[in-house]
Amino acid sequence: MAFELTDEMRAVIGVEGKPWPVEFTSTGIRGFARGVGYTDPVYYDVAAAQAAGYANLPAPPTYSGIPVFIPGQNDDRYGAPLATDQPHLRHGLKNVLDGGTEHHYVRIPVAGETLFSTGKVANLEVKESRALGTMLVITSESTFRDAAGEVVFTTRGQGIFY
């Protein structure tokens, strides 16, 4: 199929949505560690976490916390915040694959923190694939800041639409 980036699509690149609160709780961290299959007590037992040098249970690598959920304001299946006024990218492609994910940490969040994430489309790229034909690769970026406004970590993800 013919697919081209339009000026309307390019206009969303770099436009951030409103910050959304994301909670790191001891229950949430234990639940994630349990879901992944960790047996390391540092992710479950506050005393073990403190003995390892953390103020409270640390977020396991790749855990991005849980966005505050309010019915109608978050995606019901994935929990992602929808009511952030981040501009919607209209591209008309129906199929999607998760291409990749990355986390870059300034420091490790610990239980008891509420961070604020802001999302944006960081890049748009049209690629050709033998298997899928023309693909639109959307790179999304989220920045997680603490209450003082300091960046704690950033994430990037590639969604492949075709």
């Binding site: 879901g35 299959g37 396991p60 690598p61 790749t62 855990y63 986390h103 490790i108």
Partner: protein, 136 residues
């Protein structure tokens, strides 16, 4: 035993993790992560039927790359970055392995870089990635 930065050599291999997550484990991951896509736990979901079974969350494999690094380093180091690409599916109830190899070491920054991966039962790499650890 705590891993020491000085003991690490480029080429060191991380102890392997072996996982065989069934639907119950994937439901736990869904609850822990907030990703409730039925593709991962509902055998009657159309996309699961088309594939032949429920599939492991890609992000669970990504998190497992974090786990193999965390289990190896203990808390002598923190992960400063981690990334992966989703190349292939793993089916629920099937075994996959998680491993990694130290690819570089920066003595002054006290960091090491690691190539990490998940492999399916046939040995195909389904989730290649990279991690950087910063020692305390």
């Amino acid at each position: 035993m705590t891993l020491s930065f000085d003991s690490i050599t480029v080429g060191d291999e991380l102890p392997l993790l072996t996982k065989t997550p069934g639907r119950e484990q994937l439901v736990k991951y869904a609850a822990g992560s907030g990703d409730f896509n039925p593709l991962h736990y509902d055998a009657d979901f159309a996309q699961a039927k088309a594939i032949g079974d429920n599939i492991v969350h890609g992000r669970m494999k990504y998190a497992s790359l974090g786990q193999v690094v965390s289990d190896w380093a203990g808390h002598a180091a923190v992960v400063s970055s981690i990334s992966c690409q989703y190349r292939g599916m793993d089916l629920q109830g099937k075994t996959f392995t998680v491993g990694g190899t130290v690819t570089s070491k920066d003595e002054s920054a006290r960091t090491v870089e690691i190539d990490v991966w998940t492999k399916d039962a046939s040995g195909a790499v389904t989730t290649p990635g990279k991690a950087t650890l910063r020692f305390r």
